[in-house]
């Protein structure tokens, strides 16, 4: 006999616990402070400490934003995919919300990647877009892919079905990252001759330090926004549940 066991949460207990649940203010506040601190430090380092690049001049400093933001976006999508795996594998419904929030953040950071990349291209080469910049093209594809994630999410009614579908799609996304990257590299060979590339400098100690601090700042920012959005959505859901309970 096949036994289906639902997560051990009785409806009333969940809501009561939610009302009484100590708001994890402390953790989020600490994260927030860390993020602000790191961001301030990063900004200081980027504008005052890091040496000016010989080739590209002052505009090259955008690299210290662009690449950490891009890496953070990858972390977001990866985290979203990990949570998606938990939705499917452990049938953990709370992971659905976490996956969604992570991917939402990923799209935000992805959009920032495209923006900073575009600004960098304009500052360095005078063009708003460069198809020969593999990272940028990859992000465009991913950005489109994960935008469709939201279309999917808002098109289907909430429930385990939607959670499963979004989880599957999120997993397809992370598989798409390397496959797409390969495709883009292949496409450069004959479709778009390599004209410009925006490459990071061979980093010296000072540059590396700046880069690391900036990366840490972006990751801390993601962690903060993730925790805040998740808490907000949970509070939302709990409130609606409470209202539904009281109105019955």
């Amino acid at each position: 006999m096949a036994a289906i066991r639902a997560p051990e949460q009785r409806l009333e207990a969940t809501t009561m616990a939610a009302v009484a649940r100590p708001i994890a203010q402390n953790r989020v506040a600490v994260l927030g402070l860390a993020a602000v601190g790191l961001l301030a430090a990063a900004l200081a380092l980027i504008f005052f400490y890091a040496p000016t690049d010989a080739d590209q001049g002052f505009s090259q400093r955008i690299f210290y934003f662009h690449v950490p933001v891009a890496l953070t976006a990858y972390v977001c999508f990866g985290w979203g995919a990990w949570k998606a795996l938990r939705v499917l594998w452990k049938r953990d419904e709370s992971a659905d919300m976490q996956s969604y929030v992570a991917i939402h953040q990923g799209v935000v950071f992805g959009a920032l990647t495209l923006l900073t990349g575009s600004i960098w291209a304009k500052a360095s080469w005078g063009v708003w877009w460069s198809w020969s910049e593999n990272q940028l093209v990859l992000f465009l594809v991913l950005f489109l892919f994960y935008c469709a994630y939201f279309m999917l999410r808002y098109s289907v009614e909430a429930g385990p079905s939607r959670a499963n579908m979004c989880a599957v799609y999120a997993l397809f996304g992370v598989v798409l990252i390397p496959v797409s990257f390969l495709a883009i590299r292949l496409s450069q060979k004959f479709i778009h001759p390599v004209v410009f590339t925006l490459h990071g400098p061979q980093m010296t100690g000072a540059q590396f330090l700046t880069f690391c601090v900036s990366l840490a700042a972006m990751l801390a920012l993601f962690a903060t926004l993730y925790a805040v959005e998740l808490a907000g959505k949970r509070a939302d859901a709990d409130l609606r549940e409470l209202r539904a309970l009281l109105l019955q």
Partner: protein, 191 residues
């Protein structure tokens, strides 16, 4: 056959039902009553294994022993009864499905129309075909959601014969329980 404890279902904050216990054995007939939209269909779909419970424990028999007839007869409208039943006969690995299909179509009065598309049938005939589909693989557990829908007098007689067969476990959801009342071994009333 089925054992459910403290079953609940919710979609987001919309609660369909909660605290439902189900115990159904062979020879038993569970009568689920209640007005439209009260959650009968959701429960039946849960007992079929189509919907996962939000809370509680549910033990179900394997898929091949379950026969489910939902609000729709669940047949392909652009295929003929013969083609439909052949498909499901294959999917359910029914041994000698040709003979069994013929027997069922005759019993439910659809043999003459076996080569006509289901889209040309009346709703009552489609429902009869649905009953054929559901009985095709001789399920030990029968789940019927408003089976009397659109059936004429003859059809209702056939349905009654199915319900009176004590070899199976049956769960019936209906908002009109008069004809089934006396057969029921268990009741669940939704409000």
């Amino acid at each position: 056959m089925i054992r459910g404890r403290d079953l609940a279902k919710r979609y987001g904050e919309r609660r369909i039902f909660a605290g439902v216990d189900v115990d159904l054995e062979r020879g038993g007939l569970l009568l689920v009553t209640g007005p439209n939209g009260s959650g009968k269909t959701t429960l039946l779909r849960m007992l079929a294994g189509l919907v996962a419970p939000s809370a509680g424990e549910l033990a179900l028999p394997p898929r091949e022993t379950i026969g489910f007839l939902g609000h729709d007869p669940l047949v392909y409208r652009e295929l003929t009864p013969l083609e439909n039943l052949t498909l499901f006969g294959r999917l359910y690995r029914v041994p000698e499905h040709r003979e069994r299909i013929g027997m069922l179509l005759e019993r439910f009065g659809l043999w003459e129309k076996r080569h006509e598309r289901v889209s040309t049938f009346s709703r009552g005939m489609q429902q009869r075909l649905g009953l054929c589909r559901v009985l095709l693989h001789e399920p030990a557990l029968l789940l019927l959601d408003e089976p009397a829908n659109a059936l004429d007098a003859d059809g209702l007689e056939l349905l009654q014969a199915v319900l009176e067969d004590r070899q199976r476990a049956v769960a019936v959801a209906t908002h009109d329980s008069r004809s089934v009342e006396h057969l029921a071994t268990g009741r669940l009333a939704f409000t």
